[in-house]
Amino acid sequence: MDAQDLLHRTSFIELGARSRARQLLDDGSFRELIDPFERMVSPWLARQGIVAQADDGVVVAKGTLGGQPAVVLAIEGAFQGGSVGEVSAAKIAGALELAAQDNRKGVPTRALIVFETGGVRLQEANLGLAGIAEIHAGIVDLRRYQPVVGIAAGTVGCYGGMSIAAGLCSYLIVTRETRIGLNGPAVIEQEAGVAEFDSRDRPLIWSLTGGEQRYRTGLADVLVEDDVEQIRSEAIDCFRKGRPPACRSECVSRYLHRLAQFDPAAQVTAEQVARIYGEGFEP
């Protein structure tokens, strides 16, 4: 990678959700649904003294991707850590539901999800959690017709119930900068103690849950540079490939077999996981 390459790159990470959606879709095809001017805000934040964002932190944009009808669901990581509340979850789940319905009517609408999220918005707790369950349902349904592609780029990462959603995707595209994990380091430290997981140990966190490690261990499908064009092109490529022989979340025997190959009492290392998970996968 030389200086020329760097100069030609457009950082995806630096873009907000709306710009990401616009840049991912084919030029000029972006059309936002329930845009901020509709003020479909969280019904729960103002009464807690929290300033609401007009789009509740999710952009739903229809358009085309490589010429095919598509909807991009982009989470704004800067608003409340990208955490998902009632409205933001409904925007994502509702769009997935409509995309599936499109397919049942013969329209091949596919969905691309940009994960920049800490998971459930605790200020809406059970409505966030229920909404995420509906997102999961929406992904599994739509996946029967079209691949569902996820992008985790950073810098917020992809956590909580939304990391499960990422695990349900047909394909997951990651950068080195992102992290994907169920529990944030601070929560593990709170629940299990600092020896279990020191939330200030950044090298440890990235070595185990960073994008490159997830790719190396088969928990992500494509590793990209932080570049808009590359990410867009890889996403289109994933859709062109169509349904994988088996989605990762369907590979039950594979994972049970792999998990039986090591002693859970021993301290885990990134290399061990790469060894256990990294070799020639068969479904």
Partner: protein, 102 residues
């Protein structure tokens, strides 16, 4: 959390609408829409209480001349400095000017 409402004389009503910023730490979201009268109306919701006079000062400096297009501005602020506030409002005006004819 505090709500502040301000009004200013303005020039011809604007056309279109625009958006700048996000409700992130140290940032603000600005929603800007055409107003039907020659007044600019600003509604601010801010996470930081007690700075009404600062908001008045910043916005009066930007809008007090009365020569900008008349708009309704909604601000959702999460602790932005005056510099960031000015930047986002300026961005919103710029994007408004660039909106294709409505």
């Amino acid at each position: 959390m505090e709500r502040i409402a301000l009004e200013f004389d303005a020039a011809m009503p604007a056309r279109g609408r625009s958006l700048a910023g996000v409700v992130g730490s140290g940032d603000l979201e600005v929603l800007m829409e055409a107003n039907t009268s020659a007044r600019t109306v600003v509604n601010i919701t801010t996470s930081v209480d007690g700075f009404r006079n600062v908001w008045e000062a910043v916005l009066t400096r930007m809008l007090g001349q009365g020569d900008l297009p008349a708009v309704r501005i909604e601000i959702n602020d999460f602790g932005a400095t005056p510099g960031v506030v000015r930047m986002r409002i300026a961005q919103a005006f710029e994007a408004l000017a660039a909106t294709p004819g409505v």
